[in-house]
């Protein structure tokens, strides 16, 4: 296993999301019938099975729903980042998004803390990560 971090793999369900990220826009599907904002991306609304959705631009603000601190790397690309935080961020628009909390010590993070998106540019891609808000 090499030490290059994995990059987004584009498929028919996630393409619009990652293209939005490349423009530093956090975009999610919103059902045009029931209004449910969904993540992970999917062909139809899990609430009402309606297939038509608009892409809304999320505020990028939310709170830490849960988080963990990696003390071992399961992939060599992340060895230098240890210890690092993976969190479920509950966005203001509703969906929970799995990402990293960056710019702080792992011990600073707690559930329900407010966060906002920051962009980590990697070549043609950009990964939405989050930082703690005061």
């Amino acid at each position: 296993m090499d030490n290059v971090k994995p990059l987004p793999l584009i498929n028919g369900d996630n393409e619009q999301f990652w293209k939005g990220c490349a423009r530093h826009e956090l975009r999610f599907q919103k059902c045009r019938r029931c209004g449910f904002v969904r993540w992970p991306p999917s062909f139809l609304c899990p609430e009402c099975h309606y297939t038509d959705a608009e892409m809304i631009r999320a505020s990028g603000r939310g709170r830490v729903y849960s988080f963990v601190v990696y003390h071992m790397a399961y992939h060599q690309g992340f060895t230098d980042d240890l210890p690092y935080v993976v969190a479920l961020v509950e966005l203001a628009e509703g969906p929970r998004f799995l990402s990293n909390i960056v710019g702080c010590e792992p011990d600073d993070v707690a559930c329900d803390m407010p966060v906002e998106v920051v962009w980590d540019d990697i070549g043609e891609w950009s990964l939405p990560k989050f930082r703690l808000l005061p």
Partner: protein, 387 residues
């Protein structure tokens, strides 16, 4: 929901387990199945149903383990043949349905994996979608740690609760010569001194990774009476699959599938929690044991620390849990670790760890058992009783 009084487990198959290099995944399935068939007093010619535990990525240089291959290597051509693609844990339900429909007479359920010595598990880790991998998120430990952290926040659980589970189960493993951790006692200090893996989990909150296999044979109670071992009746069962993964899940801190699965199993069996003599709980992580017992109704949210304290689940305790050592301290044979242990305890074949006078516990008549898949995405619950 109709009561199911008709089926019983009549044989158990073990293999060598732990670190067993040089063995294929397929060889463990086949060895475990053959051992279970012989243990039930049967031959391959009697077997007309085969259900294999989940499909794993093939280790490099090995064939994909399909139920065709397992059947071929056992020399059988069953009327019912299946394998789960993932973790839904419906094997016993399939077996019962095939038996009660009259489609089968003797069904084998098998599991095998060379998880410790091959690269299969690594391949499994890297099957996660890129939406998670790009953030350095891999594998079951971190998913369950996310669930456990939310539970810490909501009802105040944590290592002070989980230490009782890790240490209690290790005491059972030390009575079980087959256990990977046999001869390795653990203290609370040992638990706290084990390294952090994915916080809040330490190494000793994690289940083992095992080379090995396990199997059992299921038949009707009527046929079971002609076989060598005292049959273990499947008194009740229930299943529930919350299904959603960690990002969309609403059940990470409970109620998990164990709540509905447990209610259904107990109702079908016609028993209450107070009738249960022991529990064999799928324990991929210490937290899984806590949240499962909590959702089954043994204690309220956050009361686990008190409930587990004082050795309740240990040898000599009032409610033995995971009496082989479980996935944490015996070996990882998926749901067949808890299922086969429940069966062996009720058959009275557990040697030094046998419930009863030898372990200063109640003679077991009724044992509750769970199997759990995904990140708390599936739960199967069974109530087993002495026939």
């Amino acid at each position: 929901m109709k009561p199911s009084n008709g089926c019983a487990v009549v044989g158990v198959g073990y293999t060598s387990q732990g670190r067993v290099p040089g063995r294929t995944m397929l060889s463990f399935h086949v060895e475990a199945a053959a051992q279970a068939i012989a243990d039930a007093g049967l031959t391959g010619k009697d077997i007309d149903g085969l259900i294999c535990y989940r499909h794993f990525p093939a280790a490099t240089g090995e064939p994909d383990v399909t139920p065709y291959l397992v059947a071929e290597h056992l020399g059988i051509s069953p009327t019912y043949l299946s394998q789960e693609a993932n973790c839904a844990r419906s094997h016993l339900l399939h077996a019962i349905a095939a038996l009660e429909a009259g489609e089968c007479n003797y069904v084998v359920i098998s599991y095998g994996h060379n998880a410790l010595s091959s690269d299969s598990i690594l391949k499994l880790l890297y099957q996660k979608g890129s939406e998670e991998m790009v953030f350095g998120h891999f594998g079951a430990t971190a998913d369950y740690a996310l669930a456990a952290r939310r539970a810490m926040h909501l009802f105040g659980t944590g290592p002070e609760t989980w230490k009782h589970i890790a240490v209690g189960q290790r005491k059972w493993a030390n009575l079980n010569p087959r256990a990977m951790h046999h001869g390795r006692p653990m203290t609370f200090d040992d638990y706290f001194n084990s390294r952090l893996v994915v916080e809040p989990f330490r190494l000793f909150d994690n289940c083992l990774i095992t080379d090995g296999g396990r199997a059992c044979v299921v038949t009707t109670v009527e046929r079971a009476r002609d076989l060598p071992h005292r049959p273990v009746r499947i008194m009740g069962f229930g299943h529930h699959h919350p299904s959603s993964g960690v990002q969309r899940a609403r059940h990470l801190a409970g109620p998990t599938g164990a709540k509905r699965a447990g209610e259904r199993a107990l109702r079908m069996a016609g028993v209450a929690l107070s009738d249960i003599d022991a529990c064999e709980i799928y324990d991929c992580f210490t937290y899984t044991v806590e949240i499962t017992l909590q959702d089954l109704g043994f204690f309220g949210p956050g009361e686990g620390a008190d409930w587990f304290a004082g050795g309740r689940i240990e040898p000599g305790g009032a409610m033995p849990v995971n009496t082989s050592g479980g996935l944490l301290s015996e070996s990882y044979q998926m749901g067949l670790t808890p299922v086969t242990e429940a069966v062996m305890q009720l058959m009275g074949r557990c040697g030094d760890r046998q419930m009863g006078p030898a372990t200063r516990t109640k003679e077991p008549e009724v044992i509750l058992c769970t199997d759990n898949g995904g990140t708390l995405q599936s739960c199967a619950c069974y109530v087993f009783g002495r026939e």
